[in-house]
């Protein structure tokens, strides 16, 4: 019987953000006898692809997991390389599918179904979990060498010299992308290109749907609820502002002027709302200042919505620093809030005036 934690056990209860769970009641003797090696292939099946699609869409978000432990890929010997991965299907599958024709072991850490880089940032893909997983799988008895190939982005959570002193295993940081591993394995050297994260159009676009689907629902309700004041056009423009911030923004990110995500978002939000504002501005069916006021309220309410989602995309981007994001929050969120509130108040006043017959003076 396996003494490894079962998949169900690794699902979080109430306190998932704590440190990785440790199986404490195991004595070292049973650890050393532990040889529960699972089998992995390089093949990506149709079921895998469906799982990837669901993961990208944020469906069953925490269920894209692989059982943590040691996997044999191909026909590994005692000298075969050991690759370390996260127990997120997209991470694990990217690794195994990149290792076509390579015999080796994959050591899957329990990262709660989170990818390598994010889990490393949270510390779940970290030194403690790696040391624990080496011990619980009895890796030292499976291979003769003492080298682990850890994805470079795992370095945000793993301290190589501590792993070495605690387990004897040397951490060798492989390339950022699993797809570079075959090239890397030739001489165990990564080029500068392999060591850099990218943020290509494709990288950004695969994030867009999940950003959209996983945004706090309460935000959507509040935004669409308030935009009802502006009638059909109000709701329509709010939807445009939200989509601009979540879909158009990631797409156009490098093309939008300024460095700050918030200002990029303001510019984009202003551009997409301009037609709505212009439409209100040019209307002639009621008193003139009602239209001009409505046009202004569109420009006050909607661009901050786009800018807000743009600001939140910093979390998905691969280059924004924590200090910088904090600065952005303090600089621009008050402006966003102020514009939004003033715009909403203006729209309410204009609505009340037109409902109570203000427009009849035309």
């Amino acid at each position: 019987m396996s003494i490894l934690p079962k998949k169900e056990d690794s699902n979080c209860g109430t306190s998932c953000c704590g440190p990785a769970p440790m199986v404490l009641d195991l004595n070292t003797e049973s650890l050393s006898k532990q040889k529960d090696i699972k089998i992995a292939t390089s093949e990506i099946t149709a079921a895998n692809r469906l799982d990837h699609l669901f993961a990208r869409l944020g469906i069953k978000r925490s269920e894209h997991r692989v059982e943590p432990g040691l996997y044999a890929l191909g026909k590994p010997t005692r000298n075969s390389p050991v690759f370390v991965s996260a127990n997120y299907t997209l991470s694990f599958d990217a690794l195994r599918s990149s290792l076509v024709g390579i015999d080796g072991y994959i050591l899957v850490l329990d990262t709660k179904g989170v990818n390598v880089w994010c889990a490393a940032g949270k510390g779940t893909f970290g030194t403690d979990e790696l040391v624990f997983r080496i011990e619980v799988t009895g890796l030292a008895d499976v291979v003769d060498h003492r080298v682990l190939i850890v994805p470079q982005l795992g370095a945000t959570g793993v301290t190589a010299h501590k792993v070495k002193s605690r387990t004897g295993f040397k951490v060798e940081y492989g390339p950022v992308r699993a797809s570079d591993l075959p090239e890397y394995m030739k001489d165990r050297r990564a080029t500068d290109e392999m060591r850099r994260v990218r943020f290509t159009l494709l990288d950004r676009m695969v994030l867009a749907p999940v950003e959209l689907l996983l945004m706090p629902k309460i935000l959507l309700v509040v935004i669409l609820g308030i935009s009802l004041i502006g009638g059909v056009m109000g709701v329509f423009s709010a939807i445009v502002a939200i989509l601009a911030g979540t879909i158009l923004f990631p797409m156009l990110l490098p093309l939008l002027p300024t460095k700050d995500f918030s200002t990029k978002g303001f510019i984009l939000g202003f551009l997409v709302i301009l037609p709505f504002s212009w439409n209100a501005f040019m209307a002639t069916d009621t008193i003139w200042w009602l239209h001009k006021g409505l046009a202004l309220s569109f420009l006050l309410i909607m661009p901050p919505i786009t800018a807000f989602f743009a600001l939140n995309f910093t979390g998905a981007s691969t280059f924004t620093s924590v200090v910088g994001v904090k600065k952005e929050i303090y600089r621009y969120v008050p402006i966003m809030a102020l514009m939004f509130v003033i715009g909403v108040l203006l729209m309410i006043v204009l609505r009340l005036i037109s409902i109570t017959g203000g427009g009849s003076y035309v």
């Binding site: 370095a155 994260v197 300024t258 924590v322 600065k327």
Partner: protein, 93 residues
């Protein structure tokens, strides 16, 4: 103007560097490069404060305050005054 990313918390003391090459290996943005006697800090502004260099520097020559960097989490902690929590496991965080 409109650039909040001109400064960061990365600090490097070459006097402590033993030239192990770890920082230039782990940095995903080429902030450090291998040098003759010590690692070279070549592009400080590109640092995203992921903390990999700091964590893997055996002599503490590099220091950086890192964080997950989720804007929602930072805003929530600023508003509520509570500790920053991040997403990652269903609804629980």
């Amino acid at each position: 103007m409109f650039d909040s990313y001109t400064e960061n918390t990365l600090e490097y003391d070459p006097k402590l560097c033993i030239n192990c090459g770890m920082c230039s290996t782990v940095c995903p943005h080429g902030v450090f490069r291998d040098g003759e006697k010590t690692a070279q800090l070549v592009d400080k502004k590109a640092c995203m404060e992921c903390g990999a260099c700091h964590l893997n520097c055996p002599t503490d020559a590099i220091k950086v305050e890192s964080g997950v960097g989720c804007a929602y989490a930072m805003m929530w902690s600023a508003i509520t005054g509570q500790k920053e929590v991040t997403c990652g496991d269903g609804e629980c965080c």
